[in-house]
Amino acid sequence: MSLRLSSPNPRLLRTRVGREERRLIVAFLVPALLVTFGVVLIPLLEALWISFHRYSLTTPGRPFIGLANYSSALVDPGFWAATWRTVYFTLVSTGLELVLGLMIALLLNERFVGRGLLRALVLVPWALPTIVNGMMWRWIFNADYGALNAILLQLGLIKDYQAWLSSPWVAMNCVIFADVWKMTPLVAMLLLANLQVIPAELYEAASIDGAGPLGRFRYVTLPSIRSGILVSLVTRTIEAFKVFDIIFIMTRSGPANGTQTIAYYAYTETFTALQFGKGAALSYLIAVFITLLALVYFRLIREEVQA
């Protein structure tokens, strides 16, 4: 990493340019780089190396096979099934989190009795550890003793207890629901932060121009929270694409692979089938997908900045 100063900030560094600043940069960056990459750089590179080799624990030798692990994954229907499930999980959960998060943020931005309390409470789901959250919802969805069955039955909405996690598609949506419940508050907080800095004059001006509530939302609110929406989109999509923990605790990818996402697929290939090479290739494919998504988002952000 070259740390040569290319264009030092002329104003800030007017007095003692160069050496002191350079020393500061090195002293401030090296520890963070060490902590970040000290333990993971070798694993990062090793996984890449392994992904180009036939590396199965049960067969001797690790011949170089180029991109074969990647190409075999790309023609494997199981991989695409897992990918589309992941896309479904990502789209639905991120979409719901955005919509619900925006609704909660708009609500929390209004004045009402107990607003402070609700602003605090909304953080509870977000602060709950993922494993506790998954365990909690598995308990609520439990077919024999679950609270969901009990409440629906007592309200007369169902006649018999339902096995929520026994059907692949329903189970997937149950997992999404649990994820949305936990992560919506974070989105709400990000958007609320945006909403709070919108000057009241903007709304007044819009009203004077004859804009109704919808018009004010369309022309004042939405443009002001675009950056919050983008940040939520980026972070939530990346996390959702790698989703593993909540599936591990709630359904272990079942039933009939109905909740198997790509990260879970990579996990199974690595630890159950002992195909370390293929597992590593799958992980890098996930990274490629995420990078592509990130690039799209960064382009959007750049347009946002220029606009």
């Binding site: 500061l24 990459f37 333990v39 694993p43 909690m136 308990w139």
Partner: protein, 290 residues
């Protein structure tokens, strides 16, 4: 009906709707967690009744007391207690290490102009792209070589590798948002480069710092997969792993699982509640601008 009355009525209706929406949101947010808490204090037979009893007939804090006091090393309660201590140590160590290294890095990435600054910022975030499964086997070997497998220190090292980039990223945003002029004044007054950071830059970014601390603690407390594979004994097992293992082993004791869940949730929830005003404030100050 006169105009003003109508307007007042409309306003009252709006207020009513607002409060109803707030109540609904509050219920939706709290109900599941409340059920977890109730499950944790309910007697074993209460949980298995049909129709379900919403308030237990035999409520009590017995399980919490057991977790806090038991000396039976084979019990889940003992595992939970030890795991809570481990999780606290890991979260604390990770937060300190990540802040000490990440905050200065975020500062220079925001303030100093040098070649590769942009690339370096993205480089830090690259660790986020790969799922942990890709790294776990090699990490296991490296930690073995360092003698830090199944240890709190080993987990701190691994967690810091993904918490630090996060700190760098967020703090860079805050420092960018803080006006540079005050720091320039300090420089003119003869402060060294480091003093400027320490005495001026850092204090100005305090709200951001608090937000970052909360996020760092929560990230470290929440992590599951690395801990699942890298820890095996009570020396380092974290609370998430303890709960996952326990709920995989003893399906029958839902009350105990719920107790572990509530105890695992309390530290982060309390931190979030106490510092909640900083979260929105901090996000407002700069993180949103990324």
């Amino acid at each position: 009906m006169s105009g003003p009355t109508q307007a007042r009525l409309r306003k009252a209706g709006r207020r009513l709707g607002l409060h109803l929406a707030a109540l609904l949101a509050g219920a939706f947010i709290l109900a599941p967690f409340a059920w977890l808490v109730i499950s944790s204090i309910a007697g074993p037979s209460d949980l298995l009744e049909r129709p379900l009893r919403w308030w237990p007939a035999h409520a009590g804090l017995g399980r919490y007391l057991t977790v806090l006091t038991t000396t039976d090393v084979n019990s889940a309660a003992y595992t939970f207690r030890r795991a809570l201590i481990n999780s606290s140590a890991v979260a604390f160590g990770t937060t300190v290490l990540s802040l000490v290294t990440g905050v200065p890095a975020g500062y220079v990435l925001a303030r100093s102009r040098f070649r590769g600054r942009q690339a370096l910022t993205i480089f830090f975030l690259s660790t986020y792209l790969l799922p942990p499964i890709a790294l776990i086997v090699a990490l296991y070997v490296i930690l073995s070589l360092l003698g830090q497998r199944d240890s709190v220190v080993g987990l701190i090292l691994v967690y810091s590798s993904f918490v630090t980039p996060f700190v760098v990223w967020i703090m860079r945003g805050y420092f960018t948002a803080v006006p540079v002029e005050i720091e320039e004044a300090a420089r003119i007054d003869g402060c060294s480069r480091f003093e400027t950071f320490w005495r001026v830059g850092l204090p100005l970014a305090t709200p951001g710092l608090v937000t970052t601390i909360i996020f760092a603690i929560l990230l470290a407390w929440d992590e599951f997969f690395y801990a699942l594979i890298l820890t095996s004994s009570l020396r380092a097992k974290t609370i998430s792993v303890a709960i996952a293992e326990f709920s995989g082993q003893h399906m029958i004791d839902y009350g105990m699982i719920a107790t572990g869940g509530v105890m695992a949730a309390l530290p982060p929830v309390i931190i979030a509640l106490i510092l909640q005003k900083y979260i929105v404030q901090g996000l407002t100050a700069g993180a949103v601008k990324g």
